[in-house]
């Protein structure tokens, strides 16, 4: 028997790089245009009254108004769903609006969420300060405290949320185990996988039910456009308990429609669009959707360069006299190194946190003196970016919250770009020299 016969037939569905270029789009249905057209329009003609009614009643698929859906945006949604292994996706104006829409689709006043404590500062404030105004309370748990997630579950808990690799400290959630905790409690696991992109990790394969991204970052990749997305895994059974009546019971807003009964593995996305985009309206512009699509076309090649540059940077920082500590999952003594090998086999990402000797003062000097690396509040650009979180992205936190979120005053957050590594290293040398200078002066 030949090897081929032993192995049997394999599906010929398209693989990652092909999907990055083609998923969600058929040129022959768009005047043969090889590139995805930008449908810069607010609204769409109805064939007749019957057709209009059919679209509003969800009898047929199609577009009505670009706040709800748009053909260019829909290509992006399908493409990301395909890459993540999801059933459906809904793009939004930013990553934060994707998170907000996800929570608003999932929760009602009186509900509770269990949330990882190590998140982007804006997300922390959403869960800590803003959602309670809508009656949704949260319990924060440190990302490595897997048992803590279980203990924090309450009767009214409706989900667990976290960033797979926490911002900015690089602590990793044990996603498969936390997914089991969520599923044992009958609630979904929502993972923000912005740092990974589906090239490095597909959270749905590890038990996540909903994945959110700030597409602004590595997916778009060029620092040009804001965008977010939620992706549905399709495995979560909304009808297994009575926790999600807005998914399972007849919905007054759509003639008594039960999203779970009617749409099953795409029910969450359908509800988020039909209700959330209609009522909140955080729609993505078609121009920005197109820009993100351009980025996704080269996602895998960019991520490979980001990750290889990050590994070189880790090696450089670990041996540098001005560096107190380095946090990156590729470092063997990183507490989550083994977990990272399992969850991130194609690369550990390009976000590095490091402590600079000399604390806050040295950190400020470093950032003020690097020239190639850009000092700004973003990550995942093609260019190398640096920031001092304690004085910027996480500056609205008090000292105790900073500590709980795994931050320190000497921490510099680094998003490694795809420049020639030697040039980044030379730039950092300039920054480190400047960082050492004030201490030499003060010691004299």
């Amino acid at each position: 028997m030949t090897d081929k016969k032993k192995k049997g037939t394999d599906p010929k569905t398209y693989k990652f790089d092909t999907l990055s270029l083609h998923a969600g789009y058929q040129p022959h249905k768009n005047a043969g245009s090889r590139q995805v057209p930008i449908y810069q329009t607010t609204s769409y003609l109805f064939d007749d009254v019957d057709h209009a009614a059919a679209l509003f009643n969800l009898e047929r698929g199609g577009h009505i108004y670009s706040r709800i859906s748009n053909p260019t945006v829909a290509v992006l949604e399908e493409r990301v769903a395909a890459l993540e292994g999801g059933t459906a996706a809904l793009a939004t104006s930013s990553g934060m609006s994707a998170i907000f829409l996800t929570i608003m689709t999932l929760c009602e006043a009186g509900d509770h969420l269990v949330v990882s404590s190590q998140l982007y500062g804006g997300t922390v404030n959403l869960f800590r300060l803003t959602l309670p105004k809508f009656g949704v309370k949260c319990t924060f748990v440190k990302p490595r405290d897997t048992e803590g997630f279980k203990k924090a579950i309450q009767k009214n808990t409706k989900g667990i949320f976290g960033e797979l690799v926490g911002n900015p400290g690089n602590e990793i959630m044990n996603m498969p185990e936390i997914a089991k905790i969520a599923h044992d409690a009958g609630v979904p696991l929502i993972i923000d996988a912005t740092y990974q992109t589906p090239y490095l990790c597909k959270p749905i394969d590890h038990g996540a039910d909903i994945v959110v991204h700030s597409l602004t970052k590595w997916m778009a990749g060029h620092g040009s456009s804001m965008a977010g997305i939620l992706v549905e895994g399709g495995k979560f059974d909304w009808m297994q308990n009575d926790k999600f009546p807005t998914m399972t019971k007849p919905y007054e807003g759509y003639h008594g429609l039960s999203f779970a009964e009617e749409f099953g593995p795409t029910a969450f996305t359908m509800k988020a669009r039909a209700e959330g985009m209609r009522d909140f309206g955080p729609c993505l512009s078609p121009q920005n959707a197109w820009n993100v699509l351009q980025g996704i076309e080269t996602l895998s090649v960019r991520m490979q360069k980001h990750c290889s540059n990050a590994e070189k940077m880790v090696e450089y920082l670990l041996s540098h006299e001005s560096v107190a500590w380095v946090s990156h999952p590729s470092v063997p003594d990183h507490p989550d190194h083994d977990l990272a090998k399992k969850l991130l086999p194609h690369g550990k990402g390009s976000m590095i946190a490091f402590g600079i000797k000399g604390g806050k003062e040295a950190g400020e000097a470093f950032i003020n003196n690097v020239k190639l690396a850009s000092h700004l509040a973003n990550v995942g650009d093609t260019r190398t970016l640096v920031i001092h979180p304690a004085s910027s992205t996480h500056s609205q936190m008090d000292e105790a919250t900073l500590k709980f979120a795994g931050l320190s005053q000497d921490m510099i957050r680094l998003s490694v770009g795809i420049e020639d590594f030697d040039d980044i290293r030379n730039d950092f040398e300039t920054g480190f020299r400047a960082a050492r200078r004030p201490r030499l002066v003060s010691n004299q």
Binding site: G8, P11, G256
Partner: protein, 272 residues
Amino acid sequence: MKFKVNGVEVFASTGGRPFDKKKPLIIFVHGSGLTHMTWVLQTRYFAFHGYSVLALDMPGHGLSGGESLKTIEDMADWISDVIDAVGYKEASLVGHSQGCLVILECAFRFPKKIKTLCLMGGAGAIPMNPELLSLAENDDPKAVDLMMDWAHGPAGHFGGHPVPGLYHINTGGMLAKSRTIKNTLGIDFRACDNYKNGFKAAKEIKIPTLSILANGDKMCPIKEGKKLADLIDGSKIEIIDNCGHMMLLEEADKVLNVLKKFILTYFPIKKN
């Protein structure tokens, strides 16, 4: 809605409108291993336009209770029992793939109950690829992956779902994996493979019949659909271009348009 057939709970989507016994009944029967959700872009139209609709989950599938039925003949009898259970004397039937075998056999067995047939991606016999059958009976998820590959044409593989944001292949795969594969897909595939009465049944069908076939269908090739249609007296054929076996989703609008024309002509709503 949920109701009981032979003491077992059955789920059927009513297309988003309350089930109304005063309206003519259309029953939709899904393909192997799938559920009522495959019909969402056809059922809601009819439910909003004067018909009562039941998009069934076959026993052991989707949200229905019980165990999967093991033969096409048993499934055909069960459809007749459904019509009785909801208090109707007659219905029009729409089937996809395996569902075509089921409704064909049902019309053969219960000619007075069935008013029209619509066969989507159908054939007189559906012999299974032995490897696919074995994978499904052994609960191997690769069976679903292969089925999704072969069942989809360009729209499925590239994308372009009629409902914005949905991705065909992953959605279909998730439907087929929603219950234990060997207990749904495995049993269904074996039932298809064993069924031999399709061509005989076709010769006896005397009701209006429409075959909707796709020229890119690898699961039930178009020539097989035509062979079946040619045996049915007065049968009509509609071809969907550039489309695979999952035509009801891949080209949902085109399929709905031809189905609508057929139903409104041959199973119209009676005016008072």
